[in-house]
């Protein structure tokens, strides 16, 4: 029996079973054949298309859309995968409204871009549903490459290396592959275990071995890998989360948003996930939005995102912000958390100071707001765990790489969120992995290939 939204405390089963199914179903239903054709025909096949330039993986968007219009949908899928083997996931999670679709000239001319993301999904879904394999592992070069991290950067790198004839071994600290594709990202963007299906599809290329539950620094060292492999790629992601650094941060009810998001992804039956009545989310990026919307979908009565700066500075796109508010999430700006108040060791409320920008500096002003809360999700950014890679040169606490994704150690490449300049996007991670693989191949084989 549903417990409803008005009960206090952190409770599971707040809603009717159907509400969970409805709330956590696919955010956008996929285009059918006719819809895809009508949408594809809107594409103008631009010269040096701005959408392609705006895509971090530089997918030839105009070409794959033209292939859809001629009913060559598998050709379209290959055009996408050639640049981004995670084209399926990116079609679901890319903030297209600030990438390809923002650049679309139809956006300029009529405020309605071609639905590039949806079309990409149409094409890649077909290829994956038909299990059409476009790539085969090349005959062996005899080179062995170790990859740390089975997220989009690591898997993409592995796939390209396999294409180029190298043997790959991946080590990942988690029990499953996928990185943030599996443990991050709102559940309604990756339904029906899509992340695992995609990884399985990609790995069919062969010559890639994955070792799960193997963490760098605990189970092996970088030095050991250096001795046993011809090259190393680091797709570590960001393993550490930022803290608010205020009192009572360890009180019951205070959690990291990414843990909450991961828990949602790993739980098939969402009704089992307990949620409070009054939720406060602190942060302004995608994790804040993902946590807030899903808290609402679980039946929280009040969900408030508090961000210390203004709307324009939020990391989450305008579209994502609107999605959150349309689900009933309240977004408040210019609020900096100051105090976590507890009652019997449990979170009771959060006190914020209002802020403003003075000469470009964020300052507290003498005005405060206290929000009742039984659950608080922190989504204020993540950090690289750098102890085990201390030999590598870092910049702003991220791994420094050159244009070819090579680190200060000539045997080590890196990509994804862990590098300096990373932008927290699956598509960028995938492109990094691809580019690193191409460079590794070049450097390992010299001028031979």
């Amino acid at each position: 029996m549903a417990r409803g939204q008005s009960e206090k405390r952190i409770l599971s089963n707040r809603l009717e079973p159907n509400d969970y199914i409805k709330g956590f179903c696919d955010l956008h239903s996929p285009l059918d054949q006719h819809e895809a054709l009508v949408e594809a025909e809107r594409c103008l096949f631009c010269y040096d298309a701005p959408c392609q330039t705006a895509c971090p993986a530089e997918i030839d968007v105009a070409l794959f859309i033209r292939e859809i219009t001629t009913n060559n949908t598998l050709g379209a899928a290959k055009t996408i995968f050639d640049q981004n083997i995670f084209g399926g996931m990116c079609a679901r999670v890319c903030p297209v409204e600030i990438l390809c679709e923002q650049a679309c000239v139809r956006q300029t001319s009529e405020g309605k871009p071609v639905k590039i993301g949806q079309l990409q999904r149409f094409a890649t879904d077909l290829a994956m549903n038909e299990d059409k394999q476009f790539y085969r592992s090349q005959s062996s070069t005899g080179k062995k490459i170790a990859i740390i991290g089975a997220g989009p950067a690591g898997i993409s790198c592995a796939h390209r290396l396999s294409m180029l004839g190298h043997e790959v071994e991946i080590f990942d600290a988690k029990p499953k592959s996928g990185g943030l594709n599996e443990y991050g990202i709102a559940a309604y963007k990756s339904v029906n275990d899509f992340a695992q299906k995609e990884i399985n599809y990609i790995l069919k290329i062969g010559n890639i071995k994955i070792h799960h539950n193997k963490a760098l620094g605990q189970d092996f060292t970088l030095k050991e890998l250096e001795n046993n492999y011809d090259a190393i790629f680091l797709g570590l992601g960001l393993g550490d989360v930022n803290n608010l650094n205020i009192k009572n941060e360890s009180a019951k009810g205070v959690e990291d948003a990414i843990d909450f998001i991961a828990k949602l992804r790993q739980e098939h039956d969402k009704s089992k996930i307990p949620i409070g009545q009054d939720i406060v989310v602190i942060g302004g990026g995608m994790s804040a939005i993902d946590a807030a919307i899903q808290a609402k979908l679980l039946g929280a009565q009040n969900v408030t995102i508090c961000y210390r700066r203004g709307k324009e500075q939020m990391g989450a796109s305008e579209y994502e912000q609107q999605l959150a508010t349309s689900k009933g999430v309240v977004i408040k700006h210019w609020l900096s958390p100051k105090k976590i108040k507890t009652k019997h060791g449990k979170l009771a409320s959060v006190k914020f100071n209002y802020t403003e920008l003075k000469n470009g500096k964020l300052m507290d002003i003498n005005q405060s707001l206290t929000l009742k809360a039984d659950q608080l999700f922190k989504a204020i950014g993540q950090n690289l765990i750098s102890e085990s890679i201390s030999e590598l040169q870092l910049k702003s606490k991220r791994i420094l790489v050159d244009d070819n994704m090579q680190t200060s150690n000539k045997k080590i490449w890196a990509g994804g969120d862990c590098i300096f300049g990373g932008d927290d996007l699956t598509v960028t991670a995938s492109a990094n992995g691809r580019d690193a693989a191409i460079d590794i191949n070049k450097k390992l084989l010299g001028g031979a290939k």
Binding site: E41, C46, V105, S109
Partner: protein, 433 residues
């Protein structure tokens, strides 16, 4: 509201929009619906000689070409003339004409190329009270294999002969419908004129295969694995029809011969274009077959509003008004110099003009300026071809600007002369005087 009343080859109708002889005018039911919708007249679907009616295929009769969003722009058909008994058609024609005395009811005819066959059918048609006849010399499929339709229309001597027989054996106005499946439309038109035709109508459909089924390797529409060429019509054929109408309108030998314009007319503008090129009225078929009879409402209001705006009180005031401006290439003014100009406020930077010009034309458009994506005409390379205007997805974004007398054409470095000069007197023309 402008007066749309029309008199064509002596036949009166409340407006110049007639339905062409085709499936929409096959029987009283359709024709009554058309008249209720507002059509000015119909060409009753072609009648053949008495006896067992023709049969049609029992599989698909149409093939189609689509534009974006499945907008049908070209249709092809392999339907024959009416497959209903002659007497039934005659009864219905008589009744419809009685019910709608103000509308034009013209009967399309196709019988074998023998005078007796025509002598037999003409009186029975005339007895219905029909306003006129249209000789179907155009049907390109099926009937032509039996020596009728286009088989007659492709031989000017036959056209003249049959037209003469008809004029000798009926008092009804005789309109000769021409096939476009010939090399020079003026010859059949002249033949009709010589035979005494009251008017010609054109174009009939064009021989075509619309598509090929790549699974079974057969043309579409496919009947039991085979296909045949059909008659192509719809918006896609309009340019071909406009040219043929203009050729007849400006031919000295057929000057003044009334023309009923047919071919891809979908709206008032298409109708006005045909009329400007000399058509006294127009016939529509495919557009009605796609959208139904209601489209005539748009045609009536559109033409009428345009006439009001331009100050034309009657149709006659603009029929043929564009004919004097249709000329031969050799008489075009070579001193008329235009340059494309991109309106940067409207440009959406799709770059289609650039790639069209760069890959296939004159390399006269730049794609970057100061390192930024920016499309601009380089007038020193622009020949004024207009391709960029046509590839641009935004209306009026690229203009063709006419250089004024005295301005420098940056491509040639020469001053624009205000004089008219054509090929006939050009220095490169070996035949120039």
């Amino acid at each position: 509201m402008a007066d749309l009343r029309n008199k064509f080859a002596g036949i009166k109708s409340p407006n110049p929009f007639w339905l062409a002889s085709a499936p929409p005018t096959d029987k009283a039911y359709n024709v009554e619906r058309a008249f209720k919708a507002g059509w000015g007249g119909v060409m009753w679907k072609t009648l053949g000689e008495d006896g067992p009616p023709v049969v049609n295929v029992n599989g698909p009769r149409y093939g189609a070409i689509f534009g974006g969003d499945r907008r049908l722009i070209g249709l092809n058909n392999i339907e024959l003339i009416t497959d209903r008994p002659l007497q039934l058609n005659l009864q219905e024609i008589k009744q419809v004409k009685k019910n709608w005395p103000d509308r034009a009811v013209v009967v399309s005819l196709m019988v074998p190329c023998e005078e007796d066959a025509w002598k037999t059918i003409l009186p029975v048609v005339e007895a219905t009270g029909a306003d006129g006849i249209e000789l179907n010399f155009g049907c390109p499929h099926g009937m032509s294999e039996r020596g009728m339709g286009a088989a007659v229309g492709q031989v000017p001597e036959y056209i003249e002969m049959v037209t003469r027989w008809c004029k000798a054996n009926t008092n009804m106005p005789v309109i000769v419908k021409l096939t476009p499946n010939i090399t020079d439309i003026r010859y059949p038109a002249r033949a009709a004129h010589k035979g005494g035709a009251d008017a010609v109508s054109l174009i009939n459909t064009i021989n075509s295969i619309t598509s090929v089924n790549l699974d079974i390797f057969a043309p579409e529409p496919t009947i039991d694995g085979k296909g045949t060429h059909g008659g192509y019509c719809g918006a896609a054929v309009k340019p071909i029809a406009l040219n043929m109408v203009a050729e007849i309108a400006r031919d000295a030998q057929t000057k003044g011969l009334p023309i009923s314009g047919i071919g891809g007319i979908e709206n008032w503008r298409g109708a006005a274009e045909f009329m400007a090129l000399g058509a006294g009225n127009v016939q529509v078929c495919t557009a009605a077959m796609i959208y139904g009879f209601k489209i005539v409402e748009e045609m009536i209001s559109g033409l009428s509003n345009w006439m009001d705006e331009k100050g034309y009180n009657s149709i006659d005031e603009f029929v043929g008004k564009a004919v004097p401006n249709v000329t031969d290439w050799q008489f075009l003014n070579l001193n008329h110099i235009t340059k494309a100009r991109i309106n940067q406020d409207l440009c959406i930077s799709c770059g289609r003009c650039y790639i069209a010009c760069e890959d296939t034309s004159h390399q006269a458009i730049m794609a970057t300026k100061d390192g930024e994506r920016h499309f601009e005409i380089m007038e020193d390379e622009c020949v004024g071809c207009n391709l960029c205007v046509n590839t641009c997805p935004i209306e009026n974004c690229i203009d063709m600007v006419v250089l004024k007398t005295g301005e420098i054409d940056e491509r040639t470095g020469e001053k624009v002369s205000g004089d008219y000069a054509n090929w006939t007197e050009h220095k490169n023309n070996p035949g120039a005087a």
